[in-house]
Symmetry: C2
């Protein structure tokens, strides 16, 4: 099977995915019977191109050297991202444009337009899932294509796929988790004696922090992920503004010390629970036992605990994720699309 | 779709599954389009019956009252388990016979015979996976049916399905985990000050302990699970005797206290790792940090950490499992079978 791929957004994650894809070209052919070629790349700063076959590694090099993708021979320049989506000849579009956390745009528009054209979409962008999940999932179904987004929460660790493929017949009744790497690194470094500023600088150096660090520190990133999970796993139709949200700026070295004296640690905890048929979503710093799944999530590690009807509580934990784990999410979604929807 | 079900073994797990099935009959119809009827039940002590349609809840009652299933009208008596497997008219057989841990029999024979007849098999029995996985998986493939066994390790928490459905393209390079509930309950109760005998009595009262408690305490159960995981997830062809195995009888109150003073806990840890192309499997008591995924697995809880090439380490954790979680494994496997194999 030959699959034509298009990239909308070509930042760190997309380029790591591109390298992962090319390094496994042989394996994808032999083990999964997938041949692929890249037919379009849209970037914000390096131009946008369309071609029958783009040299993907060469495109990665050009982007990383700060050059224009138009340097690639036999590729034609193609306006902005939206015109790439309108015109590309692709089976799967990988949407990794920068996120506007207050509206989810322009990703929502990009995903909608691609699905309308009958193209499968993989996104690592939380916006479409937090702001327009229901609409986009229905649109994908109507057009007979897939809308996949495993990378939006906990990178490539299976969260949405876990519920979809591994918990048939189960109802998720709530969840809790540590979902934001920046705040978790800051909290655990402060536990170890670092100052807030030192800890934040380390998170920035690791590249896990959003450009606007308030987005992490004030709990917005965790809130958007909480909404994405609730919309998909609990059939909610929530928006980030519906989350009771408190960030970590009020957490002091003293409060961490007091917690430690009781065998506890402070984590920025995302929660979803239903009381009297009302869904309540929250993000706030909480004291949790040091020896618990959330307490054991240190540094950039994440954990999600699903409360279920038939299976009790099960947790999935991702250790020290980096950009390769997010890139894997895109690969995982691609392979899920190629295998086709499960069952009838 | 109508599915005909047969039970080989009708103990606690099978009966809990039978109740779960009946209580969700409406939901299975409306949400999964599954109608089911039971056409055979083989038990060791309550007789074995075959019929066009067996009243499953009535059969559960009879077995729990210690009566013979032959009390059911319109069902005919049918010899032993093997003759039920030979003669039943079923689409799926649920195999939950008692395990002989040294050979995996009679479960291996039962599963083989059912697959040979072209019947899908769901087992909660570790024997077939630890002693004959490769043969049985190939046989199932040849006959175009499924051989599923999610309940053999960590009950219904997705372990095998996680790797099969949620980690496409990933190679599992090793694993570690806490997989035996009895020893974990004993160790954590001893940490809390209970004596070995008190702790074991509690495990027995909870019903999580095998009839021969040496099977748990000496690490056999954990070893069989380690082999099952290695055979399926790492394409090994190991047997329980290949596991370097040490149980928990040597763990003393003093050694637990010494560990605690270093912020550590003792867990019976299963490990698989490959060094110089040689797979090494082990089960032994190890000191782990209290604040780690394994340290946070207390009481009957289990955890499995998969080491992977593309996704780093990911862990799955099951909190305080009981018989309903094992029953769910059978339901999960049934739904997986009904949906059909994923993709091409």
């Amino acid at each position: 099977m030959e699959v034509k791929l298009a990239f909308v957004g070509f930042g760190n994650v997309a380029r790591a995915f591109a390298r992962m894809l090319e390094s496994r070209r042989g394996l994808l052919g032999s083990r999964h019977s997938i041949q692929f070629r890249t037919t379009a790349i849209a970037t914000a700063r390096h131009g946008s191109i369309i071609a029958p076959e783009i040299d993907l590694l060469k495109a990665v090099e050009l982007a990383e050297d700060g050059q224009s993708l138009n340097e690639l021979r036999s590729a034609s320049e193609c306006g902005d991202s939206l015109s790439v989506i309108e015109r590309c000849d692709a089976d799967v579009i990988f949407e990794t444009s920068p996120l506007d956390p207050s509206q989810g745009e322009p990703a929502v528009t990009y995903v909608r337009r691609a699905l309308e054209r009958g193209i499968n979409v993989v996104t690592a962008n939380k916006g479409p899932v937090a702001f327009a999940y229901r609409e986009l999932a229905e649109l994908a179904k109507r057009r007979g294509v897939q809308f996949r987004f495993e990378g939006t929460v906990m990178d490539g660790a299976p969260v949405f796929n876990l519920a979809e493929f591994c918990l048939p017949g189960v109802t998720v009744t709530g969840f809790s988790g540590v979902l934001n790497s920046t705040t978790n690194l800051v909290l655990t470094r402060m536990e170890g004696g670092a100052s807030f500023d030192e800890a934040l600088a380390e998170a920035r150096a690791l590249g896990v922090t959003e450009a606007d660090s308030g987005y992490d520190l004030d709990g917005w990133d965790a809130a958007v992920k909480t909404v994405a999970l609730a919309n998909v796993l609990m059939n909610a139709d929530a928006r980030p503004v519906n989350v009771e949200r408190r960030g970590i700026r009020g957490v002091t070295a003293e409060s961490l010390k007091a917690a430690a004296q009781s065998g506890e640690a402070v984590r920025l905890v995302s929660r979803a629970m239903t009381r009297n048929s009302v869904l309540r979503l929250s993000v706030s710093p909480e004291r949790v036992p040091v020896s618990s799944q959330m307490g054991a999530a240190r540094g950039t590690s994440n954990v999600l605990i699903l409360d279920t009807d038939l299976m009790g509580d099960i947790a999935i934990f991702e250790a020290d994720p980096g950009v390769d784990q997010t890139a894997y999410a895109l690969l995982s979604d691609l392979l899920t699309i190629v295998k086709g929807p499960k069952g009838q």
